[in-house]
Symmetry: C2
Subunit: 234 residues, 2 copies
Amino acid sequence: MQYQGQTRILVAVDCIIFGFDGEEIKLLLIQRGFEPRVRDWSLMGGFLKPDENLDEAASRILYELTGLKEVYLEQLMSFGQLDRDPVERTVCVTYFSLINIHKYEKQITDSFHADWFSINNIPRLIFDHVKMVNEAKIKLRYKAALHPILFELLPEKFTIPQLQNLYQQVYDTEFDNRNFSRKLLSTGLLMKLGEKDKSSSKKGAFYYQLDKEKYKQNFQAFLNLIPNPDKFLL
Amino acid sequence: MQYQGQTRILVAVDCIIFGFDGEEIKLLLIQRGFEPRVRDWSLMGGFLKPDENLDEAASRILYELTGLKEVYLEQLMSFGQLDRDPVERTVCVTYFSLINIHKYEKQITDSFHADWFSINNIPRLIFDHVKMVNEAKIKLRYKAALHPILFELLPEKFTIPQLQNLYQQVYDTEFDNRNFSRKLLSTGLLMKLGEKDKSSSKKGAFYYQLDKEKYKQNFQAFLNLIPNPDKFLL
DNA sequence: TCAAAAGTGTTCGAATTACACCCATGG
DNA sequence: CCATGGGTGTAATTCGAACACTTTTGA
């Protein structure tokens, strides 16, 4: 049984994948392997299959192209401009993903002609992918101002200066390190480890780890790490 | 030219329409006119046509069923569970809308078997529409905690007690009226009128009006009207 | 005259900001 | 021994929460 007289349309799923290399926020892009616009850079995407729902499609696409499972993945929004794909009318549901860049294996990058690009230096993208990236950046700022999601971008063990740098990149500003670490530690979400990371200073910075339990429980809590958040939202 | 070997799918657009009658938050629902589940209550929706984009489809649907144009309409999210529509696989893009209930003409309600339901007393809905409504409620709380969108639910002229009541309904709590009006007026978004509304008290409450210019400019501003917002978000 | 809602100010405590110095270490 | 980044404490201020009384007027 079917609905009569209605038009069926291609549905695509595209993923905006963020990473952080310790210096900059990065975006994972692939070089398109088919026409039109072969070799142009593009978000990772694919068509929705008849036997999968939207979240499954996003996970599949992410897995096919990065080999990663169980990563942070959240629906962003849908795009349906008539001419957004020159080949054929396609409605696109986008997801944004935060991944630990170090878990991402290099060989996959190679085999799919994928590459990380600094968020501030994105190449020309196909279709309306730039608009998608911009929406994702806005949502990332929103969400990260209220929820501790940026931990998803870091390795298991990280230092406070690393984390501060990450926030500074996301909000494109500088924070006072004393206030930052005080607020951060006051959340009780972090556990200090014995080790130090000596890669970025002679003194070394202590590693911390997320308290997974509290992280899950407090996910809905405000993290008021960002002073004057209204400066940065939308 | 078309993409080969891909499945095309029905795309629907459903609208979650909020109103406020001065007492309660309401939801506009229609009685479905066709099988399956004829006469069951449903969100207003329709299928995406080949010549319209998503926003246009949502506006059209809203217009067809309420006669209203230029109302607050924002994409919520998309739903794609395999079995969400028993007739045929359908991906649904939802929008939520805030309308001034008094602008909504009664005759249209009648002709479409539509009706307003208190948000706290929603009838059984078809498919996954309850899930959609819940997502919309969450998003409404989020958005209204950061942006002055609830004015969209009120008439041109409104009183501060009315507005406070609206916020109290949205967040299902009570606010201190002294703090509320102080914060509200400090935004500079409101202009006091000479008239009073005497319908709800003997003393009467002054009408206010939005300063449209400032409203547009300050749309991105926090309205910290809600104490402890983290209690209410998500 | 009284009941019922509108309107207004102050005080207190907490939270946020601004700010400067010592520490540890590798070179 | 010194340059570099890591780490900590305090004072001043702002901001938000709590709280109670007066006003108006229709019934």
